[in-house]
Symmetry: C2
Subunit: 498 residues, 2 copies
């Protein structure tokens, strides 16, 4: 045992010996102690950091904690088969398979649990019957050929099933099933060589697997179910909002006329970066849309909800995010755009940025509420007219600048009432490049947003989004009275459409 | 049985009855037959398409076929434990666990197989000993409390282990181990309630798992091993080449002066699109770099090869690919750039595109050969001077155009010897936007390529890439004699550096 005693003036290390005496540590041993202490501290800090991380995860995503409790519950339930004699005898000591099924099959979302259950069922039944068949054939062939036939069949079928797992269509839907097929086939056909009551054994195993699987399905679907479909639905709608946020944030940061640039800098930089989530969510979208196909109708989703369409929306969203990334990447320019161009162009750019982000937000809320939006078309029109406005501005603005030339007559005694004469001076391309790039990236982003709009509309058609209710129309009508003429006209148009 | 008999003039369907008579089918039955036939045809075509796909996969990636044969071989080997009486008795009828281990653990790459084996071993041992401990504690508590203690411990540990699988650091390295931990702990602690010789059982299971795992490891490492490390290494180097290809292709398509645009159009469009692989390879890179960490030293890679650095290169490559995507996305412009600007700018753009793609190609070959490149710095310098050239060109070119103004005196009788008088006319911004955007995207791409260069150099340092051999220097020297002065100077500089 090492103890730290503070002696006035200097630090001393003492070791208390078992016989009661104590010894002051020599410098080398002290160094070792220090090192040991720092090691312990480091380990302790690591563990603390890890626990902090875990705690934050638990706080931020309570659903995951609930999932863990569900797994614990399922296992406790299935272990009852061991504790109750009649149940244990009922499955002939094969309760192990039920426990194994629960551990392997219970996943975070309902869809993935169902995927695994169905795959396990199909794989087990197919391989089990095939295994029994092969075993029968082999047993007819005599003692000499039996192992050969069994081994060759295992070799061939295992290789074929493994290969099928590389084929994309099989991989997406039956990867786990193929693995279970190999497992069951090998076990049944090979262990059949030693086990006599093969059919009975197979029957007991299938029934225990069925018990495990049904416990999983019940718990996952009844207790706070996490539907993969709902997850992908929210993911897409949140991502749309994130894109809108970072576009709006960018516009506010770069084109805003007032000095609102530095307000809540931390918040805004986080908002600006939120498009990055979109860049990285491909894998999550794909796996969840894939699992969603296994789920029954739930909430607002039918059994045949067009989950594939979400992937298309995701792809077009990413294509838009690439552009935003380029925009944010800071198109480098050494030369500043001249002020006389900057101000009016900033205005139109700001308008385009805002209208684009409005379109994105409208789509996000459209997906969230699963209602067709009457405002979407208007917002897209607005965005397009902003694009036109920007293009017109570009057409109108000449690439020269009126620079005041000093008039020799008035140079020494400026009267102040006369305006200095202006001479048009051409800008070099360098001075224009930065602004030109920004504008054309914004236009490109707007055109890619139109791509998203098309996919979202397709989703609305395929998933039969409801029309906006008459209640909403009424709300619009009340809005008309309190607003300016322009909005009045636009909303009237919408109402006619409805 | 349905038979098709062609009667001149029209088609008839006849059914031959068992008694020898035949009956002409009524239109409805014929329709049913037609439908059935088309259904069969469709199924047949689907199956054929599927088999075609599988065949193509097998042809294109023979490594995967070899993997399938390896799985078959491993299973055949492990099933020997069933066929040989002494072996079967040796493992006490627990041969099943060996088969199961092989099926579950055998993966495509050596790294992932090792990952699973190590995880399975750690998980099994940890959970097994913990399970036996809990079982002992529970058995001391008396018959009444035993199931309660067991069930509570299963609930708590399963929930905790499941939660740990959500923590990124655990998920990356020990996801499978946590699952095996839950499985083994539940089986051991719960089945201990019914099985008497628990320790003996555990011993037998561990030994069968060890047998299965070692068969897997031996086969995966000896027979045509697929190393995850080599895969990620090639993936990164190929992706660099793909980026170079699509950049070069883009430059050739858009800035080339001669009409080489339409040569091999199909090839070139495929080449142009190759950057898309880079956008989508994040998941593959991450999983492979993760598995590579489990692999022993192999080929040119040490045990502690900096696999994480590959992920950094991948990230900076993707950031460059986003820009290229924006470039390829076709920055939309309704107005063409005026010819007098286009030609000289095309030239500098072409030079920048070519020099950027050369840098990428050099990095690709540097990674491929794992040799430090002396040429890389020169190429980067070249790229930077191209960037400067482009920026200078932009600075020099004014944004006005000399348009010939008809001289009233010479209008009707042009003499041809006199040049028409030119009047400077300012361009509108619109006419410049397209070219300006292209140039600044190219400059941005070049700056992102520099980011890749830094990461690749870091890899070269960390992984201790060899210096280029003296043989290479000699080759350079011969090159000097045959080339222009500029290259001479540059290569001399390099030689001095070496």
């Amino acid at each position: 045992m090492v103890k730290e005693n503070e002696v006035p003036g200097r630090l001393e290390w003492r070791v208390n010996m078992p016989n009661g005496s104590s010894r002051i540590l020599a410098p080398e041993s002290r160094e070792t102690c220090n090192r040991l202490q720092s090691l312990v501290m480091r380990i302790f800090l690591n563990i603390r950091g890890f626990l902090d991380k875990a705690w934050n995860l638990a706080i931020n995503e309570p659903k995951k904690v609930v999932h863990c409790l569900k797994v614990g519950l399922a296992l406790s339930l299935v272990s009852v088969f061991y504790y109750m004699r009649p149940l244990y005898d009922g499955v002939g000591g094969n309760a192990m398979w039920a426990v194994m099924t629960v551990v392997v099959v219970f996943e975070y979302t309902v869809g993935s649990t169902l995927y695994k259950c169905v795959n396990r069922a199909i794989g087990t039944c197919l391989a089990g019957s095939l295994g029994i068949g092969v075993h029968w054939v082999a047993s007819q062939a005599g003692d000499k050929f039996e192992p050969v036939i069994l081994q060759v069949s295992v070799f061939l079928l295992a290789a074929a099933a493994t290969f099928s797992r590389f084929i994309p269509t099989i991989k997406a839907r039956f990867d786990y099933g193929a693995m279970i097929f190999i497992l069951t086939f090998s076990l049944v056909s090979v262990s059949g060589y030693r086990v006599d009551k093969l059919v009975e054994l197979a029957h007991q195993r299938v029934s225990t697997i069925a018990i495990g699987a049904s416990i999983c399905i019940l718990i996952t679907m009844i207790l706070c179910p996490v539907w993969a479909g709902t997850e992908v639905h929210h993911l897409i709608s949140n991502n749309l909002e994130k894109l809108a946020d970072s576009l709006e944030g960018y516009a506010a940061e770069n084109f805003s006329v007032d000095g609102s640039k530095n307000v809540h800098e931390k918040d805004s930089s986080k908002r600006l970066q939120s498009y990055k989530c979109v860049l990285n969510s491909k894998a999550a979208e794909e796996s969840m849309a894939n699992f969603a196909r296994w789920e029954p109708a739930h909430g607002k989703f039918n059994f045949r909800h067009p989950w594939k369409q979400y992937l298309k929306i995701g792809a077009s969203m990413r294509s838009c995010a690439y552009c935003i990334e380029t925009l944010h990447g800071g198109i480098n320019s050494n030369t500043e755009t001249p002020e006389f161009l900057k101000k009016p162009l900033n205005d139109v750019c700001m308008r385009l940025g805002t209208s684009s982000s409005k379109v994105l937000k409208e789509m996000s809320s459209m997906i969230k509420t699963m209602k067709k939006s009457t405002k979407l078309d208007i917002l897209v029109d607005e965005m397009n007219s902003s694009v036109e406005g920007l293009q017109n501005a570009l057409k109108i603005f000449p690439s020269y600048q009126h620079i005041p030339t000093p008039d020799p007559a008035t140079e020494e005694a400026p009267t102040g009432t006369e305006e200095p004469s202006l001479k048009p001076t051409a800008l070099s391309l360098m001075e224009i490049v930065h602004m030109a790039t920004l504008t054309s990236l914004l236009v490109e982003i707007a055109s890619r947003i139109e791509g998203i709009v098309e996919e979202v509309k397709e989703l609305a058609t395929q998933a039969e989004f409801r029309d906006e209710s008459s209640k909403k129309s009424k709300q619009n009508q009340t809005k008309i009275n309190g607003n300016d003429g322009n909005e009045h006209e636009v909303t009237m148009k919408t109402l006619q459409k409805v």
